[in-house]
């Protein structure tokens, strides 16, 4: 088992390296750089900008260096000092800006995963066991709609409903009266009460997928002879279902964490922009459009790293859960 864990950890290193290269390449793609855009904006407003000043700025941020040199400076700053560079737009270190937001994104992603499991598990089992029942059709239909509606569309509909029928504008995860307050019990309760709505919106598509996966797997398992054997032994029906087929069907369920995380983070980015949550989404969008490259690059890098860690966790969990996978992996390592 430990060999397997070590091997998976070692695999992560090249993956993370390439991801960091890709993140940096993405933010280098747009033509021009922040200084050009900034200067063009100033000139458009009729302010003169000294060319020497521009050159000094470019030199200070190393924007004239070749790609690999810039990348080397950036990544060594992160690895050695935890320094993600400066945000041009906010004139502050990137690490000051991002950690709060990343934290909130992570809280949202974890809550959403837990919630979608909690919803998907009973529904998936029910619709497989009672296949072709009214409940199955209703859940399947709702699931399909959940899959087909873009997350941000749900958020928009939600904004509209709450404006129309509850007469309040939504947005934000911390109510205004707690905005500047230090963290205490009241603030935590307030955050929790505001959190469930975005969690629900972000979770719909993932939940719908999970229900379908679980239902399909369980249906395949229920037709297998060992289920008949278990019944023939006279086991109570709930034990027959929960003890064997559900356990088998859950393996793919667990491996979904790996690919559900990127979807969740994507959904979270979109929904946060609509409902204006203080998470990564709005700041990332803003940073991308103003070519605030270190800010945008750091976001992409951290989000991707979190996803890789999530995939690792799901693989480990799967190995713990499923003896067949565990044995195959340990035999290989």
């Amino acid at each position: 088992m430990w060999a397997f864990v070590t091997r998976r950890l070692l695999y992560m290193i090249p993956t993370l390296f390439v991801i960091s290269l890709v993140s940096f390449a993405i933010i280098q793609l747009p033509p021009g750089n922040f200084i050009n855009t900034f200067v063009a904006e100033l000139r458009a407003q009729g302010q003169g900008v000294d060319n020497a000043q521009v050159r000094a700025l470019e030199e200070r941020y190393g924007l004239d260096d070749p790609f690999l040199v810039q990348y080397g400076k950036w990544i060594s700053g992160i690895l050695l000092h935890g320094d993600f560079g400066q945000s041009f737009q906010y004139q502050r270190p990137v690490s000051d800006l991002i950690w709060d937001r990343i934290g909130l994104t992570l809280v949202l992603a974890v809550c959403t995963t837990l919630l979608s499991w909690a919803i998907a598990f009973p529904i998936g089992v029910y619709s497989a066991v009672r296949q072709h029942s009214v409940g199955d059709y209703v859940f399947t239909f709702i699931g399909f709609i959940g899959l087909a509606t873009p997350n941000f569309m749900l958020a928009l509909i939600f904004v509209w409903i709450s404006f129309r029928y509850m007469g309040e504008s939504v947005g934000g995860i911390v109510s205004p009266e707690y905005a500047d307050a230090a963290w205490n019990l009241g603030k935590v309760l307030d955050v929790v009460s505001n959190l469930w709505i975005p969690v629900l919106i972000i979770g719909t598509a993932g939940t719908a997928t999970l229900i379908r996966v679980l239902r399909a797997n369980l249906l395949d398992e229920l037709r297998k002879p060992y289920v008949t054997t278990a019944r023939a032994k006279g086991l109570p029906e709930w034990r027959v279902i929960l003890k064997y087929p559900v356990r088998m069907a859950l393996s793919p369920f667990i491996s979904t964490i790996g690919w559900i995380l990127p979807t969740l983070i994507g959904g979270e980015v979109m929904v946060s922009i609509v409902v204006s949550l203080e998470t990564t989404g709005p700041l990332l969008l803003d940073a991308l459009s103003s070519q605030d490259m270190y800010l945008a690059g750091s976001f992409i890098l951290i989000l991707a790293t979190l996803t890789v860690i999530g995939t690792l966790l799901s693989d480990l969990l799967l190995a713990l859960w499923d003896p067949r996978i565990r044995h195959a992996q340990t035999a290989k390592g």
Partner: protein
Amino acid sequence: MRIPLLTAGSRRARSRSTEDDTDGRTAVAPQWKLVLRRFRKHRLAMASAVIVVMFALVGVFAEFVAPTTPSDYSADHTHAPPQRLHFVDTTDGVDLGLYVHGYESTRDEETLAREFTVDEDHKIPVGFFVRGEPYEMWGLFGTDRHLIGPEDPDERMYLLGADRNGRDMLSRIVYGTRVSLSIGLAGVALSFVFGIVLGGISGYVGGRTDTLIQRAIELLMSIPTIPLWMGLSAAVPREWGPLQTYFAITVILSLVGWTDLARVVRGRFLSLREEDFVLAARLDGCGPARVIGRHMLPSFTSHIIASLTLSIPLMILAETALSFLGLGLQPPVVSWGVLLQEAQNIHSIANSPWVLLPGVAVTVAVLVLNFVGDGIRDSADPYR
């Protein structure tokens, strides 16, 4: 519990055997015919296929179907609410014929917002194949015939309301259908090429090439899609024309989309590689191209078609999301996502909820495409 399960299974088995026995042609029918026959029995998928065809027709004949052009604006009709289409006029005897009521607009003294009330006395007759705004059909020839519209070209009709410039939402959604569906198709076509080629190589060659391609796929899948797309499309220069942006966005979408297909294709290749008929073909002296194209591909074409159908809706959703953020297609081009940009502003949604209608079009299109894809997959699977 046990009994219904068994009967369901045996009933299906029996119905299939009778179908096979009574119809002598089944034995010699080519695979696509068998698949088609089974697909026809799938009621939900058939109904969805009809809707998909309707969407496609609307997209192809967008100029003709739309009551007006998407850029036709009217300053007097900003955020005009949807009109009800009446079929019979009973105010003065019974008068058959389509018509809508005009608006009476007043300005709120305080907020200066325009408020619309239905003017029951003002009747605008609506007809089919009427003359209206001139347009160029497919850029080939100019005409001014529209499928439906007010009979008097000077009158205005807003069946789904108007946007903030008084442009007809229905016409804009119709034009958006063309762009959104075609970008889905183009994106899928591109990912199809990537997916088949790379997945095929990965599965057929195996070994180190396989590991390399699989690692690349895992890498692409581990980057959260929306931030990746956002980053890439932020790199599309603003100065590019609509057509260039369109292609750039398609390429960006398919860059991520091909991975799923490549995995499916690879899996199939891996399992087929060991089959006897592949060995036989190889012993007969067929080159790799012929073994793949002639012997292996046909045995999972239907699976590929199903995967493709299922990835079109994903592309449509992705384009909508990107354009909604302002990173995808840009305004003179009309797509469902571009239209939804107007819904970003809470006042628009609160005062004129019909700006959300393009989202309904997205949901319906994605839903029916999913049903059709599922139907194809079920009917293509010989083991069900």
